[in-house]
């Protein structure tokens, strides 16, 4: 119901915005004015990555659909799951405590993968990347800038989910494992960003992007401990899930949230698998990165 209500509200706002094409400047999310002096390019690659990330973030935050799927939907999922099942217990741990890391994994993937595959494909197919190609900016700057944006968003959403879980549902997080949550979130986010670049290079048009990412991710969510604990899965299915990065992001986060865990809460085997996927993704992304629309490719 809440999703439906929010969806309708978003649709109405979109219709209202379309009816007023001259409605002028968006006043929210305004960046600070460009400063005088050397340009981002003149200040070096790091400054240029930050420059790109700043404007990518504006673009994402101003897109109602991106805002809904990356920020609002994960919080809604958490509220729904905790409200319905939250007070049950598994191994003496409140179920809400297991939903926060599961939904956090979903949120990281929403910001870093789903949203990214769709926007990269759309930007490539509509000539936005091609126009940037006519400037001196290099591909790795664009990839790094957009990745930084997604990592920033992931960290914020994971923090919000933790705060909501803590305040509303009494989720516990031993303070010693905060580095584990943060580190796993960042590694997971970077991994899914480069995988997004890798996958988008195989998608030929923007209409195919959305169904493609959902077809890949939905089954993985269900077998990777995002919605359902992995202990209830048949062993073979869990082994299948363990091949893919979703399970390792989810497992790493679950571990960091487990009240029985002491230390920094980093599962190095999960980080290792994520790193392997990250390396594969990066290699594919850099080799297959395309500035030009596939439709007009030669």
């Amino acid at each position: 119901m809440i999703i439906l209500w929010l969806w309708r509200r978003w649709q109405r706002r979109r219709a209202a915005a379309a009816a007023e094409p001259e409605s002028g400047a968006p006043t929210e999310f305004r960046p600070t004015p460009a400063r005088e002096g050397p340009t981002a390019a003149a200040r070096g690659p790091l400054a240029l990555v930050l420059h790109q990330a700043r404007y990518d973030l504006l673009g994402v935050l101003r897109n109602g659909q991106s805002r809904f799927f990356t920020l609002i939907l994960p919080i809604l999922f958490l509220v729904i799951f905790c409200s319905v099942f939250g007070n049950g217990k598994v191994h003496d741990v409140k179920l809400s405590t297991t939903y926060v890391p599961g939904i956090s994994a979903l949120a990281v993937i929403a910001s870093s993968f789903v949203n990214l595959v769709i926007s990269i494909t759309a930007q490539r197919e509509t000539g936005v990347l091609k126009r940037r190609r006519a400037t001196p900016v290099s591909a790795w700057i664009l990839i790094a800038g957009r990745t930084l944006t997604a990592v920033g968003m992931s960290v914020v959403v994971v923090a919000v989910l933790l705060a909501v879980g803590r305040v509303a549902y009494g989720v516990t997080l031993p303070t010693s494992t905060i580095p584990g949550v943060a580190f796993t979130t960042v590694v997971g986010s970077v991994t899914f960003c480069v995988l997004a670049y890798a996958l988008s290079s195989a998608i030929s048009n923007e209409d195919a992007a959305q169904p493609m990412v959902q077809a890949i991710m939905l089954p993985l969510y269900f077998i990777s401990g995002v919605f359902i604990a992995t202990d209830v899965l048949p062993g073979w299915l869990h082994h299948v899930a363990q091949v893919f990065p979703v399970e390792h992001l989810s497992d790493g986060l679950h571990h960091a949230y487990d009240p029985a865990v002491h230390g920094v809460g980093i599962v190095w085997s999960d980080i290792g698998v994520l790193a392997i996927w990250c390396a594969i993704g990066l290699a594919v992304a850099l080799v297959r990165f395309s500035w030009l629309p596939k439709a007009a490719a030669d």
């Binding site: 390019a41 673009g59 994402v60 000539g127 126009r131 400037t135």
Partner: protein
């Protein structure tokens, strides 16, 4: 002085189809050059090879002294491109889009000045995706100019525009001349080429079929003129003096004469009419229009 663009024997083949079948071009600094041709003639293929977006099958190409197939960041600092199709930067206003792009360059132009140059001052804080087609194209021109390039490519900058949007776009392109930019313009509108260009090359079927200034293209200046008029009631073409009858090119209610010496034959015609006390109220004499020249040049390749 070394030409800004120099092309020798350029070819591009897609499978069996030869989109560009061996063209030569030379464009001098500060020139506005129009590449005119019907859809599918090879214009965009050529311009995308010059921009470094496409690989060529054969030929020599030099743009600002560099082979565009190996253009690096330093080269892209000096070249601007307005693409035929490209959406606005998602979510960003006109000014923010220019701020983003200016960060890519070492010595960009002033942002407000560039917005003024394309006449988008009142839209500076409007989201790019909410602009009209004409305004969005002017934003594209601003984005191509922000790096202060020496050479700017404009690929069909006014296709699909209404007449007033075209006028505005032409004014903007004319402004590039005052900045001393070299402009490579592709278009399928004859009037656009005539209005803007110092020099025009007509491409059809992948080949350059004519090259010249708007006044001399395709031998326009030496082409036969046309004299047209309606004969008064009771007078037939047979009543014309023999020297004019020999020029008769058509009679469909109106008589059409074609002549290389319009002054002489007009004199004969008016002498004959006045001598008989006839009036020729719709008499008109004209040179072929650029459009007629163009259609004739491209017809055989259509």
């Amino acid at each position: 002085m070394e030409p800004v663009v120099s092309v020798r024997g350029l070819r591009k083949r897609y499978g069996q189809f030869e989109a560009v079948a061996g063209i030569d071009l030379e464009i001098a600094r500060g020139e506005i050059f129009a590449f005119l041709g019907p859809n599918g003639a090879g214009k965009t293929t050529t311009v995308e090879i010059l921009e470094g977006f496409r690989a060529r099958t054969a030929g020599e190409v030099s743009v600002l002294g560099v082979d565009p197939a190996h253009g690096d960041a330093a080269w892209r600092n000096r070249v601007g491109a307005v693409l035929q199709e490209s959406n606005a930067e998602p979510g960003l206003t006109v000014r923010e889009s220019l701020q983003l792009y200016s960060g890519y360059y070492l010595e960009p132009r002033d942002i407000d000045e560039t917005i003024a140059l394309v006449g988008l001052q009142e839209k500076a804080d409007t989201t790019g995706t909410k602009l009209s087609g004409g305004q969005r194209r002017r934003l594209d021109v601003a984005l191509a100019l922000i790096g202060d390039p020496e050479l700017i490519f404009l690929d069909e900058p006014t296709t699909g525009f209404d007449p007033s949007a075209r006028r505005t776009a032409w004014h903007v392109i004319d402004g590039l001349r005052e900045l001393g930019k070299t402009v490579f313009l592709t278009t399928h509108y004859m009037d656009e080429a005539e209005q803007l260009a110092d020099r025009i090359a007509v491409i059809a079927g992948g080949r350059i079929v004519a090259e010249g200034t708007p006044g001399t293209l395709g031998g326009r200046n030496s082409m036969a003129a046309t004299i047209r008029f309606t004969l008064p009631e009771g007078t037939g073409a047979d009543d014309l003096p023999p020297e004019l009858r020999a020029l008769l090119a058509g009679e469909d209610g109106r008589v059409t004469l074609t002549t290389d010496t319009p002054l002489v034959h007009l004199h004969a015609l008016t002498g004959w009419a006045i001598g008989r006390g006839l009036d020729l109220p719709d008499l008109d004499v004209r040179q072929p229009t650029l459009e007629e020249v163009y259609l004739e040049l491209t017809e055989e390749h259509a």
